[in-house]
Amino acid sequence: MSTVVAAPQSTAPPASGRRRTRLWVSVWLLVGLLALATARVVADADDIDSTGTLRAGLVLAMPIALAGLGGLWSERAGVVNIGLEGMMILGTLGAGYYTYHFGVWVGLLGAIAFGAIGGVLHAVATIVFGVDHIVSGVAINIIAAGAAAFLAEVFFSGLEGGGPTQSPSLPEPPSFDVPVLAEASSDLAEKGWFLLSDAGSVVAALTNNMSVFTLLAFAALAGSGWLLWRTAFGLRLRSCGESPSSAETLGVNVYRYKFLAVTVSGMLAGFAGCYLAVVASSGYANGQTNGRGFIGLAAMIFGNWRPGGLLAGSLLFGYTDAARLRSGGESVHALLLILAVGLLLLAVWQVRRGHRTSAIVAIVAAVVVAVWFALTDAIPGDFTQMTPYVTTLLVLSLASQRLRMPAADGLRYRRGEAG
């Protein structure tokens, strides 16, 4: 819905490829909106794209997107960062401690600093000592979880409303309504008009009660896109992830760039933790990340190691998670209709490409889903719970043919080793 926002801003006239990408993004947005509007009307599921659902989806998506952005920085410089989860945990803890004592803004800085500690640790292990990236990442996840549980007890025991496993309620960062647009779109969203109200809903979700932290997150996404793809600094950093030895021959200090990238990665994961603890939730609690760092990593892969793509992946996950948590049975039931139609279109496409077997599989699946939709009114909880994961997996498996990771991602680099 808001992928456009994350597209890197450029003052140079856009190349035709870029223009085509933008066109595709708009087309996909329109198709998505049309699908939601149709499903809403046909299946009579008002909550499927209500302002509330979309806003909840946005809030659930942001921590994932920020963690994914952290992964992007690190992996673009050639360091696999599976320790994002741990850095995010450190972020939640830092947010809990500093927000409680010093307010929202110091809390944000504290969370970023705590995340950076995790990032520096990972950088020291993988870049300086050449430890395997996965081993170091897993170690950081374990250390962070343990350290957070221990420090939470030290920080929060005995505080009013806190305990050894949770912080007291924390103040929320300021939020605002965009004048005129907020009210107009909310009114439109409540009319129930086909497509128009659905579009109103999207605008209303983006203009009403918008947290400053959400804006900052969007700024981080757009800023990273600009910095990494539009500046010499970004080119050098990415060259460390594609071919560090070539970068070295051109005089790039690969160690320094990698170190910086992994530290920034930790800082972004810390921000993700802060968002989770302060905006999405109302305080620190042990175990509240619950795998979101890993999902961020998946969103990054989903998005082909690009900020716009990872935002789209995060929004998809956040939206489906919100839809199933709110009127779950009903909304997910309506989503089945979209799935059936989508599968049917996939079948048509496969036939045109001459892939008969996959076309048949798609048709059969479409029929099964359509029958399921027709025969039921709501989806049982066991299935609604899987929705975010299944959706992400489905889209990922359809898109995975075109993904390309940085060429030297995850490889150990030693100065002067290249021929």
Binding site: S157, G158, L159, S282, G287, R326
Partner: protein, 366 residues
């Protein structure tokens, strides 16, 4: 050379990082010592020696575990006994729980209480090896296919009865004839809350719409420990017209309170297990209508006293399923905040009496 510079810099950086952590730790230490006066450190009477194994969350969760601890504190003082309490770790398995129970048993505790249904399998594995020790499991049940044991008591609470009363309170309060229920895990233990709540609402007015949502099917972390999930689900209910939402979702319920705050004046949440009005933040307080009380402390006190009496008199200690309901004050509702009018309280007391007398049968998930 440059590599050495990098190394030196990293050394400095990691030094700073460690220092920051230590400093942060020291800063927190000054204020974190008020609630750590553990009764088990000081009690050394000759009465029963009680071992208490906490569920994840431990002391300070302001709910379940704290309530169990309060019961322990009281009963140890009353019976002049001694005790040991041990914490659980996040994400541990049955083997770790078993080991914890065995340690307590080997340390000659005569009564061991495991807090939480999650201990079921572990207790039923350990108990046969220690026939002289009495085990109590809060919310416990034997694992599937395992017979009851004479030295194990499954301490249960008629959550459906308490939920019935707060359901009635919700029905008497709602202006929009629309109320909600947020459950943590979709398991019988929590379904029992939902069924009671629903019956209570319908008892007052069968036309009231009830929205119901479970946060997770099988993942306890997503269900009971995610305020984010609780807030998302409850906000959905308020958006869809509810004005009272009852939660049975542990820590996730804190998100339900936040949702009520965000939804504005006249929007209510109902707490669970303990009187959550007392531990809520200042801005949440005006929105907590009442709480469904599950008196884990009563359960602990009654059970330990029962065992102690039996040992003294030579009778049989409580075992099998031991349920504390409205008649034994094992469940109830809270009136803190004075949001329930005297009129409503009178009606609730009337319903309570009817349940105790058996005139109203509250459906149960068991």
């Amino acid at each position: 050379m440059l590599q050495r510079v990098v190394r030196q810099r990293t050394r400095v950086a990691s030094g700073i990082a460690v220092a920051a952590l230590i400093l942060a730790g020291c800063a927190g230490n000054d204020e974190g010592s008020s609630s750590t006066d553990d009764i088990c450190e000081s009690a050394d009477g000759d009465g029963p020696k009680i071992g208490l194994a906490f569920d994840v969350g431990g002391i300070g969760d302001q709910s379940f575990n704290d309530s169990a601890y309060a019961g322990l504190e009281q009963v140890v003082t009353d019976l002049d006994g001694s005790c040991t309490d041990v914490e659980a770790a996040d994400g541990e398995d049955d083997a770790a729980r078993e080991e914890r129970l065995r340690q307590l048993a080997d340390a000659d505790h005569t009564i061991i209480i495991a807090v939480g249904f999650i201990y079921g399998a572990a207790v039923y594995n350990v108990a046969p090896d220690y026939p002289d020790i009495n085990f109590g499991i809060i919310d416990g049940a034997p694992p599937e296919g395992v017979d009851l044991l004479t030295n194990v008591a499954n301490i249960g609470f008629a959550a459906n009865q308490g939920s019935f009363l707060v359901g009635a309170a919700a029905a008497l309060t709602t202006q929009s004839d629309n109320v909600g229920f947020v459950g943590g895990l979709n398991i019988p233990l929590i379904q029992d809350f939902e069924m009671g709540f629903e019956a209570g609402v319908k008892e007052i007015n069968p036309d009231i719409e009830i929205q119901s949502e479970y946060l997770s099917q099988d993942d306890a972390a997503e269900g009971f420990e995610s305020p984010t999930n609780g807030e998302t689900a409850a906000t959905g209910m308020f958006d869809n017209g509810a004005d009272v939402v009852f939660h049975a979702a542990g820590k996730s319920g804190l998100g339900v309170f936040d949702a009520a705050v965000a939804a504005g004046e006249g929007m209510w949440a109902i707490g669970v297990d303990s009187d959550q009005y007392l531990t809520a933040s200042a801005e949440q307080k005006p929105h907590i209508l009442t709480s469904m009380l599950k008196r884990v402390d009563t359960g602990v006190i009654e059970y330990v006293t029962g065992v102690a009496d039996a040992v003294e008199a030579g009778g049989e200690a409580p075992n099998g399923f031991v349920t504390y309901d409205l008649s034994s004050d094992g469940v109830g509702y809270a009136t803190s905040g004075d949001f329930l009018s005297q009129e409503i309280i009178d009606q609730l007391e009337d319903l309570k009496q009817q349940i105790i007398d058996g005139e109203i049968k509250v459906p149960t998930a068991f």
